[in-house]
C-alpha cells in the first residue's frame, strides 16, 4: 500500500495511549459480546399477543433519501389504524396490532422486514404493503408461498392486475399503465383531442428503477397508436443530478414532460425545469410526483406544475375530523397536526382504510376473529365499496366506488389532474378513466409470460365466488 502503510511499519509508537491495557480491553470486549449474545437471544422472542388482535405490518421508510415522502405516508397509515382502534375498538371488536419496520426503500431490508413481521400476532400478517416497487417484485413470490396478500395501491407491478395469475397481488386503485393512459388522455385534452397528438413530442423523465421503468411499455403502445414521439429519459438514483437531462430537454423542446420520480428527484426536476425555463405547466407528474414535499422546496418555481391524482388529492374530509377527534385529541397522532391532509398522508390513510375494509369483508365470511392472510385475500378479492359505504367511512369526495374481482385486482382506474398554485394543489380536470382496451392486452401478454415462466396455472375466474 502506498499510503500510510510504511509509516505504520516504521513507527509503532502510539500517539495517544489507550486507557485500558490489552488484557482489560479484551475482557471488556468479551463482556460486550456476551451481552450482545443474550440480547440477540431475546430478540427472537415474540411478545405474547392477545388472542383477539389482528396483526398488520407497516413497511415504512422514515429515514434515508426517500424519507421525505415515506414519512407522511406512514403517518397516514398509522393514524388510520389508531382511529379504528380508538373509535370502534378495532374491526368488529378485533383490535388492530401494527408494527412499523424501517426498510429505507432498500430491497434486502424490505425482505428482512417482511420475514420479521409476517409471523407476528395470533394469525400472522393480514397483508403487507411495502411502498416500493422493487420490494414488491422481491416479495411477489414469497407472499404467494406464505399466503399473505400484498397490497400495492397505486404502484407495484402493473401486470399483477390480472388476479388469475397473481392471486396475492392487489395493485388497488390504479397501476402505472393506467396512470400512463390517464396522463396521455389529459395531454390529449389539453392539446385539443387525440388526433392532435400526432407529431407531438412527449418525454418521460423517470427514476431509473423498476418503478420508473414500469410505464414505458404502455407509453410506447400509446405512442404508436396516436403517433406522438416518445422519449424516455432516465435519471439515476437518487436523482440529485439532472442538469444534463434538462439541458437535453431544453434543446429538444418536448411538448410535454411526464415525471415519474420519487423522493428528491421530484423536487430537483421542478427546480431544474425552472433553471432551463421549461414551462412547469407542461410537466405532468405521476401520482407519486405530486405531493407537497415535491413542490414546496422549489417555492415559486413550482407554480403551474401538474400531477396526476390517485383519485384523492390533498385536503381534509370528514374522516380527518374523526382522526383529529379520536386520535390527535388523545395525543396518539403520528404526524405534526399541520400536515394532516397532505397528499401522501391521505394516501396512507386510504391504503389503510382499504386494508381494514378487506378484513371487515373477510370477517363476514370467516367470523369476527383474527384472520389469516389467506382469509384476508378472499376479503380483498371480494371488496366492494359503494358510494354510500365510502360516505359512512368519511371518504366521500376522496374516492370513487371500488369493486375488486378475481380478474380485476385493480378495482378502479380513475384519476384527475391537479396543479400547484404556490400554496396548495388545485384540481384542474374532470375524472379520467384509464382505457382498459389499451392496458388490457399488455396486462394479458405480460402476465401470461409470467405464468409460463413460473409454471403457474392461472385460476379460472368464472369459477371463483
Amino acid at each position: 500500500m502506498a499510503i500510510g502503510g510504511k509509516e505504520a511499519r516504521e513507527n509503532k509508537t502510539r500517539y495517544r495511549k489507550n486507557g485500558l491495557n490489552e488484557e482489560d480491553s479484551y475482557m471488556v470486549r468479551n463482556k460486550l459480546l456476551l451481552a450482545a449474545a443474550i440480547l440477540s437471544g431475546g430478540a427472537f422472542a415474540s411478545p405474547a399477543a392477545a388472542q383477539s388482535e389482528q396483526f398488520i405490518p407497516i413497511l415504512s421508510y422514515r429515514t434515508g433519501a426517500y424519507a421525505v415522502n415515506g414519512v407522511p405516508y406512514a403517518n397516514g397509515v398509522a393514524d388510520y389504524y389508531n382511529l379504528v382502534n380508538e373509535r370502534d375498538g378495532g374491526i368488529n371488536g378485533v383490535k388492530i396490532l401494527f408494527e412499523e419496520c424501517e426498510t429505507g426503500y432498500a430491497t434486502d431490508k424490505g425482505v428482512e422486514c417482511y420475514e420479521r413481521l409476517k409471523g407476528k400476532g395470533p394469525t400472522g400478517a393480514a397483508f403487507v404493503n411495502p411502498l416500493s416497487t422493487g420490494i414488491t417484485f422481491a416479495l411477489t413470490e414469497k407472499t404467494t408461498t406464505d399466503k399473505i396478500p400484498i397490497i400495492t395501491m397505486g404502484y407495484g407491478r402493473a401486470d399483477s392486475k390480472n388476479g388469475a395469475v397473481f392471486a396475492y397481488n392487489f395493485p388497488l386503485l390504479g397501476t402505472y399503465w393506467s396512470a400512463a393512459d390517464i396522463a396521455i388522455q389529459h395531454v390529449a385534452k389539453e392539446v385539443g383531442g387525440f388526433d392532435k397528438l400526432k407529431g407531438k413530442k412527449i418525454s418521460l423523465l423517470y427514476h431509473d428503477s423498476p418503478y420508473g421503468k414500469e410505464p414505458i411499455p404502455m407509453l410506447q403502445v400509446l405512442a404508436k397508436k396516436y403517433g406522438f414521439e416518445f422519449t424516455p429519459i432516465p435519471v439515476t438514483h437518487p436523482g440529485v443530478e439532472q442538469k444534463s437531462q434538462w439541458l437535453s430537454i431544453r434543446q429538444n423542446r418536448p411538448d410535454y414532460v411526464l415525471v415519474w420520480g420519487w423522493g428528491v428527484m421530484n423536487g430537483t426536476a421542478v427546480k431544474e425545469a425552472a433553471a432551463v425555463a421549461y414551462p412547469r405547466d407542461k410537466m405532468i407528474g405521476v401520482w407519486w410526483s405530486g405531493a407537497e414535499p415535491d413542490v414546496q422546496p422549489a417555492g415559486d418555481q413550482a407554480v403551474g406544475y401538474k400531477a396526476l391524482m390517485l383519485q384523492h388529492g390533498a385536503g381534509k374530509f370528514p374522516v380527518h375530523a374523526e382522526i383529529e377527534k379520536h386520535v390527535y385529541a388523545k395525543g396518539k397522532g403520528a404526524s405534526e397536526p399541520g400536515k394532516i391532509g397532505e397528499v401522501l398522508y391521505n394516501r396512507g390513510m386510504v391504503n389503510a382504510m382499504l386494508g381494514v375494509e378487506a378484513i371487515r369483508k373477510a370477517q363476514e365470511k370467516f367470523g369476527k376473529k383474527p384472520l389469516t392472510g389467506e382469509q384476508v385475500r378472499w376479503g380483498l378479492e371480494n371488496l366492494n365499496l359503494s358510494e354510500a359505504r365510502l360516505k359512512e367511512l368519511g371518504f366521500e369526495g376522496m374516492l370513487k366506488p371500488i369493486k375488486i374481482s378475481c380478474s380485476d385486482h385493480e378495482g378502479a382506474r380513475d384519476g384527475r389532474v391537479q396543479q400547484w398554485d404556490g400554496k396548495g394543489w388545485k384540481v384542474i380536470s374532470d375524472w379520467y378513466t384509464a382505457n382498459q382496451s389499451e392496458t388490457e392486452p399488455l396486462v394479458d401478454e405480460v402476465s401470461a409470460k409470467y405464468a409460463a415462466d413460473k409454471k403457474i396455472q392461472p385460476r379460472d375466474c368464472s369459477k371463483e365466488s
Binding site: M1, Y26, F44, E102, D108, R116, G119, F137, A138, S209
Partner: protein, 375 residues
C-alpha cells in the same frame, strides 16, 4: 489445559502440512460443522425455538451465509493480496445476471453473420458456477489497472466497475430478458431433480456452497498462490525482486476473488432475493462487504464469517432491541440510533483492534494455551 498442542506429534509430512494441525481446532471445526449441517436442520425440523421460525433461517442465516461467502471472496483480494476493491457489488451483480441469463437460455442473434448463438437454459447449479466464471473474467479485466494503480487510487478506480455495471444491467434490456420493469426473477431452483424451495432447503444449499468454497479458499491461501498474494500485499516491489510475477499474482487474485463473489452474487439473487434489480448490488453492498472483511480480519477466512455475522446481524439487533424491550421509540429514532451506535461500534472496534476479530481469536488461542498458568 483444554487447548494445547503438547503431545500431538507429527510423524509424517502430510500431518505437518495439514490445514488444521491442532487436534482441538479440528474438533471445534467438526462441532461447528455438525451444528450447521445436522443441528440446525434438526432443530428446525422439530420446530424448536427460534429455529422453527422462518425468520431466523430466511432473514438471518441465509443472507449471513451468502454474504460470508462474498466476504471470503473480498478477503482474498483485499486481505490476502492487498488490492483494495470497492467494486465487489458489481461482481456480485455480474454473477447474478450471468447466472440468470444462462439459467433462462441465451440467445444472441448475429444477423450480420447470418446466424444466431443459442444456448438452451442450463441447470441451475451449472449456471451459478458459470455466473461465477463470468465474474472472474470481468474481474481479470478490471484487475489489469491494478498493475499500475495502487492503494486508495485503485479503490476509487474499482468504483468505475461498480457504476458501470450498475448502469449496464439497468440499461441493456438483453440482460433482463426484456422485462418491462427491469426487474428479473430467478428460475426455479432445481438441483438434480430436487426442488429447493423451503427455507431449510435453501439454507442447506447455501451451507454446502459456503463450506466447499471456504475449504477451497483456505487451502488456496496457504499454498503457493496464496503465499505469492501475501508477498505482493506486504511489499509488491520486494516480491517482484524475489521472482514473483505481479501480473500473474494480482490477476489470479482478482480472478479467484471475483469468481467467489460472483457465485455469492448468483446465490444472493437466486436463493435469497428470488427477484431483484441492479440496486440490490449497489455501492452500499460493496462497502458492506469491505466492512465485513475489515471488522472480521484481513487475511482470515474465519474472520470473514465473523465479520459477516457482525455487520449483518448487529444493525438488525439494534433495530429489534427497543421494540423487544418495550421502549417507546419511533421507528425514525430507532433507525437513527441504529446508525449512530453501529457507526460508533465500528470506530470503536477499529481503534481497539485494527486487525479485526480474527486477531482477537488468535490472541484468545494464545491465552488458552497458557491457561490456567499464564506465567
Amino acid at each position: 489445559m483444554l487447548y494445547r498442542e503438547a503431545g500431538q506429534f507429527k510423524t509424517t509430512y502430510a500431518e505437518d502440512m495439514a490445514i488444521f494441525p491442532i487436534r482441538q481446532d479440528r474438533m471445534a471445526l467438526a462441532i461447528l460443522l455438525g451444528i450447521a449441517f445436522i443441528g440446525v436442520p434438526l432443530l428446525a425440523d422439530f420446530d424448536i425455538w427460534p429455529f422453527g421460525s422462518d425468520y431466523l433461517l430466511r432473514a438471518i442465516l441465509l443472507p449471513f451465509l451468502i454474504l460470508a461467502l462474498a466476504a471470503i471472496g473480498v478477503n482474498i483480494l483485499v486481505g490476502y493480496c492487498g488490492q483494495i476493491s470497492l467494486g465487489s457489488g458489481a461482481f456480485m451483480a455480474i454473477g447474478a445476471y450471468s447466472a440468470y441469463k444462462l439459467g433462462t437460455g441465451v440467445h444472441i442473434p448475429l444477423d450480420w453473420l447470418g446466424f444466431a448463438i443459442s444456448i438452451p437454459p442450463l441447470p441451475v447449479l451449472l449456471s451459478i458456477l458459470l455466473g461465477g466464471l463470468a465474474a472472474a473474467v470481468v474481474g481479470i479485466l478490471f484487475g489489469i489497472p491494478s498493475l499500475r494503480i495502487k492503494g486508495l487510487y485503485l479503490a476509487v478506480a474499482t468504483l468505475a466497475a461498480q457504476f458501470f455495471f450498475d448502469w449496464v444491467f439497468l440499461r441493456v434490456p438483453w440482460f433482463t430478458n426484456y422485462a418491462p420493469s427491469g426487474s428479473v426473477s430467478a428460475p426455479t431452483l432445481d438441483f438434480f431433480g430436487l426442488n429447493v424451495g423451503t427455507p431449510i432447503e435453501r439454507y442447506m444449499l447455501c451451507l454446502i456452497f459456503v463450506t466447499v468454497f471456504a475449504f477451497l479458499a483456505k487451502n488456496l491461501v496457504r499454498g503457493n498462490l496464496g503465499r505469492q498474494w501475501m508477498a505482493i500485499r506486504d511489499m509488491d516491489i520486494a516480491a517482484e525482486l524475489i521472482g514473483i510475477r505481479p501480473l500473474y499474482a494480482k490477476l489470479t487474485a482478482f480472478a479467484v476473488s471475483s469468481f467467489i463473489i460472483g457465485v455469492a452474487g448468483a446465490l444472493w439473487a437466486f436463493v435469497y432475493l428470488g427477484s431483484w434489480e441492479p440496486l440490490a448490488f449497489s455501492i452500499e453492498r460493496s462497502l458492506q462487504l469491505l466492512f465485513m472483511v475489515i471488522i472480521g480480519g484481513l487475511g482470515s477466512i474465519m474472520g470473514s464469517f465473523i465479520g459477516a455475522a457482525f455487520i449483518l446481524i448487529l444493525p438488525i439487533m439494534l433495530n429489534l432491541l427497543p421494540t423487544q424491550l418495550g421502549v417507546p421509540l419511533s421507528t425514525e429514532t430507532i433507525t437513527h440510533l441504529e446508525f449512530i451506535i453501529f457507526g460508533s461500534l465500528i470506530c470503536y472496534l477499529l481503534i481497539k483492534e485494527p486487525h479485526g476479530f480474527a486477531r482477537l481469536i488468535s490472541i484468545g488461542k494464545e491465552k488458552l494455551r497458557l491457561w490456567p498458568f499464564p506465567y
